[in-house]
């Protein structure tokens, strides 16, 4: 149970406070409701590049990191399809430093040409390191494009091409900032060794005078229902054949999300999971196999990916995976197997909550989804899933015409 209090400043900034006096640290988490799905298709990768730019100095502070480090703090950020999340963790008696820094870069950035150019190079090197100079590194580019034809999940967070990042201009950075980085599009969570009254006073002092942004409507084209199986064959300089099978699934906020996530656990979490036992241990078709969900605000993907053993054909590998999935769709699972994954999730959530920064991030994330207090309903929602729901979800998700498949062949 995560206890918290919340209030809203007159400029629309939502503030959530989660006191925990067992720690001497404070975690400050600022979530901006903007991600790669909000990008212009001709300027992909922008939200993530912008995240880098947010550390390059604000209107009154030349560089973000230095003052925070001098206050004993550490910080980082990440960008996803849906959000951009910044966090600082520092000794709680230096809490005000984080307010000063975070509020100044919400007020306005320095917008210096030179630092934008440097961050473009840094991000292009990040692109090369993770997506080009890496065996199978481009698979997420290929899968996003295969599975999403209309929705902006069509491109990955890093961006479609290096060129998109290379040609970014300052004008776009300013427009982006003043549209999305406004108090009424953000959630601030302060957690740890802090008092609500102190946080309220600091929030008013540092964020109170930042003007709200103009209202805008998010208008994202939604992906139509997929009606036939899609297959892409890739031949690349990789050492072993791999297969990727992504099935469309519901959004993070949909009631079916919990059954779908548990289905994923049944398939792939732990040494007792189905895919590993059936296909790696018994049939020995794969040397590794895993399933995961993209957990996105709009409809997501449940992806199975595996590396094939020598002399196993793609067709045989795909068929074997389909059999494991079909088994659940047609026969469901025993109560005990469902309880197993429910117990795993309960334990996973409990361990996650030992960390104050994690709690802060989860509060911000659930507030962005709709309501911070939902964070405390997660275990109950997972536990109320029935074997019938698992079976129904499996038969709905694991349909042939709902599949996006990549045969990733080794040229060697």
């Amino acid at each position: 149970m995560i206890h918290f209090e919340e209030f809203v400043l007159s400029n629309g900034l939502k503030v959530i406070v989660h006191p925990d006096f067992s720690t001497s640290m404070a975690a400050v988490n600022m979530l901006y409701k903007v991600g790669s799905r909000d990008e212009d298709p001709s300027q992909t990768g922008f939200a993530h590049l912008f995240e880098h730019f947010m550390f390059e100095g604000s209107v009154n502070i030349p560089h973000f990191d230095g003052p925070l480090q001098r206050a004993g703090g550490e910080n980082n950020a990440f960008t996803s399809n849906d959000i951009t999340n910044y966090y600082d963790i520092l000794p709680s008696n230096n809490l005000e430093t984080a307010f000063w820094l975070e509020s100044d870069r919400m007020l306005s950035l320095a917008f210096e040409e030179e630092s934008l150019e440097t961050q473009k190079s840094v991000v292009m090197e990040e692109f090369k390191e993770h997506y080009i100079n890496q065996p199978y590194g481009d698979v997420w580019h290929k899968m996003s494009a295969l599975a999403y034809k209309v929705h902006p999940y069509h491109w990955p967070v890093i961006g479609l091409t290096l060129e998109h990042i290379e040609k970014v201009k300052m004008r776009s950075a300013k427009d982006f900032f003043f549209k999305y980085y406004r108090p009424n599009n953000a959630v601030l969570v302060v957690a740890g060794n802090v008092q609500t009254t102190e946080v309220r006073q600091l929030a008013e002092k540092w964020f109170g005078e930042i003007p709200a942004g103009e209202r805008w409507e998010r208008n994202i084209p939604q992906e139509p229902e997929q009606t036939e199986r899609r297959l892409l064959e890739v031949h690349a300089d990789v050492p072993v054949n791999a297969i990727y099978m992504a099935y469309k699934m519901c959004a993070r906020t949909h009631p079916d999300y919990y059954a779908t996530d548990l289905l994923r656990d049944i398939l792939s979490t732990g040494d007792s999971s189905r895919l590993y036992n059936a296909l790696v241990k018994e049939k020995k078709l794969f040397s590794s196999i895993a399933a995961y969900t993209t957990e996105t605000v709009d409809n997501g993907l449940l992806m199975v990916e595996g590396k094939l053993n020598k002399d196993v054909t793609m067709q045989a590998a795909e068929k074997a995976v389909e059999e494991v999935l079909a088994e659940i769709a047609s026969h469901g699972v025993e109560q005990r197997e469902l309880e197993k994954v429910q117990n795993k999730i309960e334990s996973y959530i409990a361990f996650g909550e030992t960390n104050v920064l994690n709690r802060a991030m989860n509060l911000a994330y659930h507030e962005m989804l709709g309501n911070a207090s939902d964070v405390n309903l997660e275990i109950k929602k997972y536990k109320s899933v029935t074997t019938q729901a698992i079976r129904e979800t499996a038969s709905r998700v694991f349909r042939k015409e709902n599949a996006n498949v990549i045969y990733y062949y080794s040229k060697n």
Binding site: R70, E129, N133, N343, A350
Partner: protein, 423 residues
């Protein structure tokens, strides 16, 4: 309000360490306990002196540990996994140079129930040949993929150049090594190193008195004895006579770069001060390497310098992946930054930032029972008490630019460092 004025900050003067209780099982196994926090979870870590240092052939310690998951004389791998998983318990297995570790993560309410099963894994593992063959196949496949990654290959070449193939810190895995793994070799290693006289236990989380009693009942018996690992084994270091090692990969768009040299480990009195110097140089986001090579030049997504400390040695390791066209320029800048450390003392202001950042990090490293247990483990391995943390804070806060200048000249010499590049 004047936003140009920096809010006042306080320095960390002392650290409030969680309490550590020490006890012994009836058979003499030392137990360390950190009991605090709100969440009803517990982590039970069993450390056997059964790491790579103690193996005759490469991969034996690794595979002995890996095969613990594959069944006992009465249970299959699947049955074992089912029972842990059903109770929401997670068992992690890992091997380092010194220790092989088996860690149980569990809700406190389920932990005691899991202990007999864990004991069975540690005393009655069956090492089935069929499962071993599968795991070996999977690991071969994985190695094939890893060998396509420039950073992985650079790391192999780098530690190989520092230590040579006869030393555990330098030895790397070749495909032939998998052929030499036999069930018998694993069984022997298991018998020799996985027993009560070669074990220590660290418990952290929120738990009642019954947990220790149950651990004592399950793991404290006298029928689980053996000979402690021989800690006097030594290996010859055969450093490469050549400082520069390049592997060309025509299709790469980046080059993995590793630079460094043998150095001191945590046993050495200079280590704490040297780690301040290293942090300033390349150990945090605001470091000189990051400021120059990432933030100013944009050559890389990240560049880091670490002081790696192991019980029998240590080394300096600078690593990055950079655009292929700036490979030489990066090496040049690394050399430039090292020479700058050697030629002029750092400023008080820059040093103060590093001191504060490191003090904050120490505070983060003791925050919460689970986190603190990792820090505690690091101390125990080097025979240090928790007082060391307080001394460390003092050392970090008192070190001077003149001392760092002297250490830079003693430990950082670019002309004597290995330079390994792949890509």
């Amino acid at each position: 309000m004047n936003r140009a004025i920096v809010p006042a900050t306080k320095n960390i003067e002392r650290l409030q360490l969680p309490e550590v209780q020490q006890a012994q099982l009836d058979n003499g196994v030392p137990v360390y306990m950190v009991n605090s926090g709100e969440q009803e979870v517990v982590k039970i870590e069993l450390l056997f002196r059964a790491g790579k240092w103690y193996e005759g052939n490469n991969l034996i310690s690794d595979f002995t540990n890996r095969m613990l998951r594959e069944g006992t004389s009465t249970k299959s791998a699947k049955q074992l996994a089912d029972e842990f998983d059903y109770n929401g318990a997670n068992v992690q297995y890992s091997v380092g140079f010194e220790n092989a570790t088996v860690t149980l993560f569990s809700l406190t309410s389920k932990a005691e129930m899991m202990l007999p099963l864990l004991y069975e894994v540690l005393t009655d593992a069956s090492f089935p040949q069929g499962e071993l063959d599968t795991i070996i196949n999977n690991r071969r496949q994985r190695l094939k993929v890893e060998l396509e990654k420039n950073d992985f290959v650079a790391n192999r070449n780098f530690v190989g150049a520092l230590y040579g193939q006869q030393h555990p810190y330098g030895r790397v895995t070749h495909f032939e090594d998998f052929d030499r793994i036999t069930v018998n070799a694993l069984r022997e290693f298991y018998k020799q190193y996985y027993h009560a006289d070669n074990l220590l236990i660290i418990i952290s989380g929120k738990f009642g008195e019954s947990l220790f009693k149950t651990i004592n009942r399950v793991f404290g018996g006298s029928n689980w004895k053996g000979t402690p690992a021989n800690r006097n084994i030594t290996y010859a270091i055969e450093s490469s006579s050549q400082l520069t090692h390049h592997t060309e990969k025509p299709d790469s768009v980046q080059t993995a770069v590793m630079v460094g040299s043998l150095s001191i480990n945590k046993h050495h009195p200079d280590f704490a001060k040297l780690s301040v110097l290293n942090t300033l140089f390349g150990g945090y986001f605001g470091s000189r390497l990051m400021a120059n090579i990432r933030e100013e030049k944009g050559y890389t997504y990240g560049i880091h310098s670490s002081l790696l400390s192991y019980p029998h040695g240590g080394f300096i390791e600078i690593s990055s992946e950079v655009g292929k066209e700036v490979r030489e320029a990066t090496l040049h800048e690394i050399g430039f930054e090292i020479n700058r450390l050697r030629s002029e003392p750092v400023s008080e202001e820059e040093l103060q930032t590093v001191k504060n950042y490191m003090s904050g990090n120490m505070m983060r490293s003791i925050d919460g029972a689970l986190k603190f247990s990792d820090t505690l483990k690091g101390l125990i391995i080097y025979g240090q008490s928790t007082d060391y943390i307080h001394q460390l804070l003092k050392t970090v806060q008192e070190v001077t630019p003149a001392q760092l200048h002297e250490l830079a000249n003693r430990y950082f010499d670019f002309s004597k460092m290995y330079k390994v590049t792949v890509g």
